[in-house]
Symmetry: none
Subunit: 226 residues, 4 copies
DNA sequence: TATGAATGAGAGTTCATTCAT
DNA sequence: GATGAATGAACTCTCATTCAT
């Protein structure tokens, strides 16, 4: 007692909040500098402590980075899921999911998620634990997609396509487009990415969808001929 | 014979062949250990020389890695393009392209391409030159796809979809699926990836395609309902 | 006791004393091997630590060397000033100053100052910070000389020569002679150097001075004819 | 034959002129970068050849640098001596010598001599051969001074001071002032240096000399009171 | 819990020098 | 005589990690 930091920490134990603080700091640094160039000293500096303390909590740099990965995925999933759940109608949910992917909310307090994913994939190539975490994340995500599909099929919005296969295809498409955006490819901007993925969903699931810029005209998706 | 590049290398200066040898060694090491963990000493060891020689030729580790990226993309493009060109019929060409992507020939003498791409994307996030090279590569690739589409439309095989948009969507889908394969995700094996992407192409371009495992039955793609 | 710096060091933080220890070690190594051949490893070895610690304290080899330069000049200045202040009479002070220059006390615990100055000049040719430090040192030194001149003029010991100009000329002469001694030129030994510079001062400032070896004879300086 | 470079070399043997070319190139590089930072590759580049050739001619970097030192001193001595010899009258010769020291001719084709001397002194601290060469140079130079003094004494221009002692003192003064100029000390510009040294000579040798800026007034040197 | 001090194990890069041609 | 290729031996600096306090 007498240590205001501990008092301020609030709901959890002092140690836990310090840990979280460090993980969050790590995530910020990773987002900025990439996994390869993130040093323990950077994280410590950002959290306002010493490198030794970071090691004290995580024992290894590796552990710290993996924890940061977990945090990133939790934050992302929660954010996406919440947004999607707030919308009604299967097609509208898909659209919300797409928007979250390509136009993440700026008010979220962790930066530049897009770059992080690609970097994270690269890391998971050689780090088993990261690979596991990432795979779970993708599985969760595909499950969410499949559930929306099932829901849409139940209401008759969607045609009877295999939900698992669609989820796989759809999330792959989103990932592929997200990569291009993260890499700043001039051929793919967020709007294009939304249009393409929504067009794919509409064509595959058999619901009617008119791209925003064509709304009011007779034309449909680039992929659905009249 | 018939491969003029090899011929040129043969009578070229010794220095050039040494360079290529080193780039190739670098590519192998990168494929095995990833960019982040590739050391000059590794490359030198693999090429049977000293680290100093590597610097002698490339001045900088960075230069070496970037050259390796170039080589990877050239090898890959050449291989894919040649295989595709050997087939006739637009749909068949697309299929060949897909196969090359997910089931690259084992006889090609550079290893584990899939992991390399993801790693390369990550690198291009913070390395301008790599980003440039990568972007050119993607542009080339999309052009090839678009050309096949145009060709298929000319023969009436494909329906009149926007070729550029299709190319963007298609290559994003391939990339997304390739990532899952590279990351060894149990939900996506090469066969599934082929089926999904060919299904997408068939549905979008409006040609008839029956997945191999259903050939002989009445069923079509998972995405094309009867 | 009576030396407050030592007292301060005693109760100062361990880090500070370590720093000083390293700077002192650096100075010793520099004096022995010269700036060009001084390696971080040498300094670390002399201080009984690891090269990494040296970097930990100074960040850069360059910083370390510059600090060593500062130390050298402080030690030298303090030593010279103290000796000079202990003597009374303007001419006697000048003589003490000269002696300090050409016959530095052997009991001072930093070695071979003469070689260091020349080496330091060479370094200051291309190292701005060293140049600055050196220049300040020279300015301080000239000020001391000029003050002695003013003092001597006040008492009537010296004739009304411009103190600044004399200081410039006098310190240049001392430097030039010191170089010859540092370079071990057979034409200039410390005694000669003392005689020459004292002769110059006597002739210029118009006080009577008899070279030691001629004391008791009628002759004066080589420069002052009867 | 058939090699035009050999033909162009002209008067000496081909090998010798190549050598000289390299020494000259070395001198230029040394003047620019200092001894410590002069690399064989720099010299080779400046001479338009390969490092290997430099080694071929000099065997060691050290040899090359020492040769460059010799060249520097020869060029300098020749230039100074020639200029001095062109003037008549002992005092005028001294003045010419002083001017050469502080205001070297810009048309001489080797650059920035001032910095070189200090650098050379530093090198001679630890390089016996350079030390020897330098010492000979200084001895030669003092002899020249002493000769002028003797000459002046013969004509009655100068008073009967010990010529050797004067030479030692005078060259030390010039060196000391030259150092300040080389180090760009704001307290000593070439004009001041000339004035001081000429004032010293006039006062010591007992000839009348009026500093340029006071010419026409009644005042004399700062050191010679009325 | 927290940290400053300390270090070992590299990593990249430099550069004089060697040598086959 | 001339050089491109090659290398060994350093050297500086980095950084995760340890440890005494």
């Amino acid at each position: 007692m007498g240590d205001e930091r501990t008092a301020v920490d609030g709901d959890g134990s002092a140690g836990d909040s310090r840990r979280e603080e460090l993980v969050r700091a790590a995530l910020e640094v990773i987002a900025e500098r990439g996994f390869a160039d993130t040093r323990i000293a950077d994280v410590a500096a950002r959290a306002g402590t010493s490198p030794a303390l970071v090691i004290y909590y995580f024992e290894t740099k590796d552990n710290l980075l993996t924890e940061a990965v977990r945090l990133a995925e939790d934050l992302w999933y929660d954010c996406g899921y919440r947004r999607m759940a707030a919308v009604s109608g299967a097609a509208a949910r898909l659209e919300e999911m797409i928007c979250t992917t390509f136009m993440p909310p700026a008010d979220v307090d962790f930066p530049d998620l897009g770059m992080l994913w690609v970097d994270l994939w690269a890391r998971s190539l050689r780090h088993a634990e990261v690979a596991r975490v990432r795979q779970e994340f993708d599985a969760r995500w595909r499950t969410v997609i499949a559930e929306v599909v099932v829901e849409g099929q139940a209401t008759g919005e969607f045609s009877p396509v295999d939900p698992g296969e669609f989820a796989t295809a759809f999330s792959a498409l989103l990932d592929g487009l997200a990569v291009q955006i993260a890499l700043d490819d001039p051929a793919v901007d967020p709007e294009t990415a939304c249009r393409i993925s929504m067009g794919f969903a509409a064509a595959t699931l058999g619901f009617r969808w008119v791209p925003p810029e064509l709304a009011g005209t007779a034309a449909g998706s680039a992929f659905t001929e009249s």
